[in-house]
Every structure is written in structure tokens, then in C-alpha cells.
Amino acid sequence: MLKNIQEKIGYLRETQLGSFIPVLLALIVIWIYFGIKEPVFLSPRNFYFLFMQSAVVGTLAVGVTLVLLMGDIDLSIATVAGVCAAIVAVLSTKMGVSAPIACLAGLGAGAVLGGIMGTIIAYFRIPSFVVTLAGLLGFQGLMMKILGIHGAINVRDPFIRGLTTTTLPDSIGLILAAIGIIIFGLAIWNNRRARNAKNLDNDLLYLSIIKFIFFSTLVITATLILNAYRGVPLTIIILLSLTGFLGWLTTSTSYGRAMFAVGGNLESARRVGISIEYMRISAFALVGFMAAVGGIIGASRYASVSFNAFAGGPLLLEAIGAAVIGGTSLFGGRGSVWNAILGALVIGSLGNGLDLAGARAADKLMFSGAILLIAVTLDAVTRGGASRK
């Protein structure tokens, strides 16, 4: 009986829509609960801040999903974000480098730091847990060095601040949403037609329609809510574009296939000629890049780079927690970058709601712990079902 249910949940989680549903349900439950308890939770203004608060965690979660897919982990994402933010801050405020170039340097630094750790993991065959733990410690020190004795640098540059303060005009937000919906609809439609033409089995028509309606409602509602306050933030567009690219990379290229193969069965990936070394190095470099993006967004949002905001706080665990809550397996081989964003929203909503409800830090931590534990348990349980152990 229990095994049967395990297997059913496992099967559900293997489908694209099915992996979305648990985390989405969790999100809806949280929203309804806090909506009733603290009506202000559901105000457009609060949603705007909720999205913005979740942006940094979301960016890091999307990044770390890439290595989780391969069965690795990166514990250094938050400190890499901090180091990159510090580099950007020092370059732009103290050395007079123009902000866009400083940002590029920060992004490059993130990719290099990630790539170096990836190289060590790949060639010396050290577990990623250990190497990135060393990275976590080492980069904390590096960040302190870069920031100097004050431990914080204020960022006033209009370009960098603009990354999180700019919002799109209402009309452009709606147009982008419409374009997104049309592309999504066309993709579903095209895929159905091509599958029929080639005589391949199709999803049930009503499932495709539900998928489309679901996506459209989500996008339009989100846009309208954001428009009701200030408009769609540029940050969200940046995050969604990057996630869109990484989503495409992981599901629609040989590179992504190889990631799933490495996470699913390392030996078989090796036998079919996939270079494990290349995969590890490039994936960790990508995570480093995403960490740098998160760092720059963070610097822009807080208008400063401080040790506590990145390395000292709960950012790392929140990001990994978000990825796992989104349904990405810590055992490798299963997950999606899109779900990481939903996971980040779950964590963000929880923090935001508990803040509004006047909960103390202690309660917040315990709540977050419980949610994470539930997510990991679900992962372990469904994994057992799926592999018929």
C-alpha cells in the first residue's frame, strides 16, 4: 500500500507538470494562510517586495540546481556571490571603473572561481562537498580582504542601483507577458502538430490546454499584481531570461542531457563518451556565474555590500533549500531550474509572512527547517519509489 503510493507520487514527480504541482500547492497554501492571517500579505505592494526579496535566493537556487542535477553540490555559492559583489563594489566606487565593466568583471570572477573549484573536483576526484566547503571558508576570507577594514562598502552607482529599482512601464510589462504567453502557446501547439504528423503519442488534449491556461493565468496575474504597485521589475526580467536560457540548456541540448546522465548513472555517462571532467568544470563555472549575478542583484538591492548580507547570513542554505523544495533531488538526476524559482518564492513567502505576523527569528528558523525537512523527505521517499528499491 505504502509502496504503491510512493510509486504513484514518484511517477507524478517524474512528469514535467507533476514536479511543479507540489511546490506550487505549498506556495498557494502559504499564501492563503498568511492572506487570512495578515490581509496585507496579499497586497500588490507586499507581493512586489516578496518577489524582490526572493530574487537573490532565486538566482542562486537556479544556479545551484545545475550541479545538483549532476549529483554534486556547491556550498560556496553565497560566498562567491559575496566576493563578486565586493569586486563590483570596489571597482565601481573606489577605482572609478565604469559600472557595466565592473559588473562584467564580477561575472567573470564568479565563473572563474566556480571553474577553479570544478577543475579541482573533476581532476582530483574530491567530493564537491569538500571542495566547495573549502571554497566557502576561503572566499569568506577573500571577501573580507576585498571589502577592507570596514567590512562594508556602500553602492550608490545609478547603473547598479538601477538593476533593482527600475520597473517596466505597465504597457511594456503587459506586452512582454503577452509575448511570453503567445510563444508558450505556439510551442505547445507546434509540438502537438509535429507529434501527430510523425505519429507519436501525444499528451491528452485537455492536459495541454490546462497547461496553457495555467501558465497564462500565472503570467497575467503576476504582471497585473506587479503593475498595480510599481510595474514589473527589471530584476525579474533578468532572472526569468537567465532561467529561461538555463532551462533550455538543461532540457533541450546534448549538454543538458549529459548533466542528467551524469547525475543518473555516472558510469553509463562515461561509457557513452561523455567527458565527466568537462561537465563538472563547465557546470561549476555556470554556477559561479549565476552566483555573481545574485551578488550583483544583492549589492543593488541593499545599496551596499557587507559581509553579513552574503557570507554571514542564511543565504546559502536558503538557496539550496529553495532548489530542493522545488523538487530538485539532492541525489542527482532529477530537477528543474524553473522549480528553483518557485522554491525561492516558498522560502521568501514564509519569511515575509512570518515577519508580517510578527514572528520572532527563532520561529522563522524553525518553520524554514520544517519546510526543508518535508521537501527532502518527499525527495527521498519518491526516489525510493521510482527506482523500485
Binding site: K198, D201, S252, R257, A261, G264, V272, G333
Partner: protein
């Protein structure tokens, strides 16, 4: 090199058979002081299933690994259609049309049937655009799925209905079919099967043996390693017996009995 001299078995065997497609000559392999393979000759015809039997440690798997390029032998030569070929890596072997299905199948349970069949060898769009790195060209999902369906149909595997099913949800026999379909999808002429029925139940074993017969019909040269002589006698045309790293002899299934094979395996007669 003069092929006729080193193929003493050529034309001596029964009437209707195809010419020898593949042969291994004088294969030697030492592990430390032990002769894992000692001057082994081995030959295969297309449209024929060759059983390879022997006790544990007799050298069956070592021979398979040498043929599939997974492990280099110390000396010896390989010939395909009479021409000498070098097999220095699994890649070499698969380019020459030699495919091996390992006992553990090497499938990724978290990927679907199509993805497994094309793993490491995906069909992509923009494959003539050299500027885009190969790993970043978009996958042609539908073509791969179509070809997967065709490959399974060719092998008469009808129990797998959706090519989008994850391997984790398939039975052992179905997994074996997929591993075999992967090996025979490309232009392979030689398929090596290492204990394909070892972990299977009765009906699934039957399923896999049907598949082996099907490979014979599609004109593959098939090698079947198995400890189960019933299975061997059911599908093999000839049986090669190995003992202590040596090829004891090749038997026609029609003119031999399981008892003879057993005594050959155990006593080298």
C-alpha cells in the same frame, strides 16, 4: 597478411552458413602472472548466434572486453570481412560496428527511453553550423523519438508503449530490450551480449531470447555469454567453450548435447 592461413576453420563448417564476418586471432592477455587469454581464436558469422560459455574466470568477459575495445589485449589481431582492423578503444569498436551490452546495461534510470537510446549520440538541429559548440545545438526530440519507436519495432518489442517513459518504471526484460536496441540502432553488425538473462524471470528471459533470435534474423553476428545452457541451446547456432583462458573448441548446437558442453567446460574435453 594472408587471411586464409590464419582462418583454418573457414569453409570447414556446415553448408548453408555465411562467410566468416569477424575473427580474432591469437589473442593473448596476461594479468600479472595469470594467462587470462592464451592464444585464443574466435570467429563469428553474420546471421548466427554464437554461444560463449565457460566457468567463472575462464576468460569470456576478458575476450568480450578485448573485442569491444574496453581493454587492450597484449597481442593478437582482429579481422572484419578478412581485413585486419585495430580496436584500441570502445569508440574504435563501435565505429567498426561492434557493440557490447554489459550485464549492468548502463542505462540512466532517470532518463526516458529515447534519451537513453541516443545518449552521447543525440540528433541535433543546426549540426552543420560549426560555430555553435556541439553540446549547445538544440536537440531534435521528435526525430529521436521516431527512430526509437522504429528501432524497437524492428526488434519486435511491443511492450513499451511510450518512448517518454523513464527507465526507472520499466521491467528488467524491457530494460534489456532497450540496451539491445541501443546497441543495434546504429549500423552495427556485431552484438556482444554479456549475461543478458542473468537477473530475469522466466517470461522476461523468454522475451530477451526472442530478441536474440530477432538479431539473427536482422543479419547480426551475435555473441551470447550465459551460464544457462538451456538458454544457450535454445538460441545459439554454435557454442564456443572457454576454459582457463583457452578456447577448448567450437560445437555445432545441432550435433552436441548439454552434457558434452558441461564436460568440456569442467574438464576441457
Amino acid at each position: 597478411m594472408n587471411n586464409n592461413n590464419i582462418n583454418p576453420l573457414k569453409n570447414t563448417s556446415s553448408e548453408q552458413t555465411n562467410p566468416i564476418h569477424f575473427s580474432a586471432q591469437g589473442i593473448m592477455k596476461k594479468f600479472g602472472g595469470i594467462d587470462a587469454l592464451n592464444d585464443v581464436n574466435f570467429e563469428l558469422r553474420r546471421g548466427e548466434v554464437m554461444g560463449l560459455v565457460g566457468d567463472n574466470g575462464a576468460g569470456k568477459t576478458t575476450l568480450m572486453k578485448a573485442i569491444s575495445g574496453a581493454q587492450l589485449c597484449d597481442s593478437g589481431a582482429f579481422f572484419i570481412d578478412g581485413k585486419e582492423v585495430k580496436i584500441n578503444s570502445p569508440h574504435d569498436a563501435s565505429r567498426k560496428g561492434i557493440q557490447i551490452v554489459y550485464q549492468d546495461l548502463a542505462l540512466c534510470e532517470n532518463l526516458d527511453v529515447t534519451a537513453n537510446l541516443f545518449l552521447g549520440n543525440e540528433i541535433r538541429y543546426l549540426d552543420n553550423l560549426k560555430i555553435i559548440p556541439r553540446a549547445l545545438r538544440p536537440l531534435n526530440h521528435l526525430s529521436m523519438e521516431e527512430q526509437t519507436k522504429a528501432a524497437l519495432r524492428k526488434l519486435k518489442v511491443h511492450t513499451i508503449t511510450s518512448m517518454r517513459t523513464k527507465i526507472a518504471f520499466l521491467s528488467g526484460g524491457q530494460r534489456q530490450s532497450i540496451a539491445i536496441a541501443r546497441a543495434t540502432k546504429s549500423d552495427s553488425s556485431i552484438v556482444l551480449l554479456d549475461e543478458p538473462t542473468a537477473a530475469l524471470g522466466v517470461s522476461q528471459t523468454k522475451e530477451v531470447l526472442q530478441l536474440v533470435k530477432r538479431l539473427r534474423e536482422t543479419n547480426h553476428a551475435v555473441v551470447l555469454i550465459s551460464h544457462n545452457l538451456n538458454n544457450i541451446f535454445e538460441v545459439c547456432d554454435r557454442i564456443t567453450v572457454m576454459r582457463q583462458g583457452e578456447n577448448i573448441g567450437v560445437f555445432d548446437t545441432k550435433n552436441t548435447t548439454p552434457d558434452q558442453i558441461v564436460s568440456s567446460i569442467t574438464r576441457g574435453e
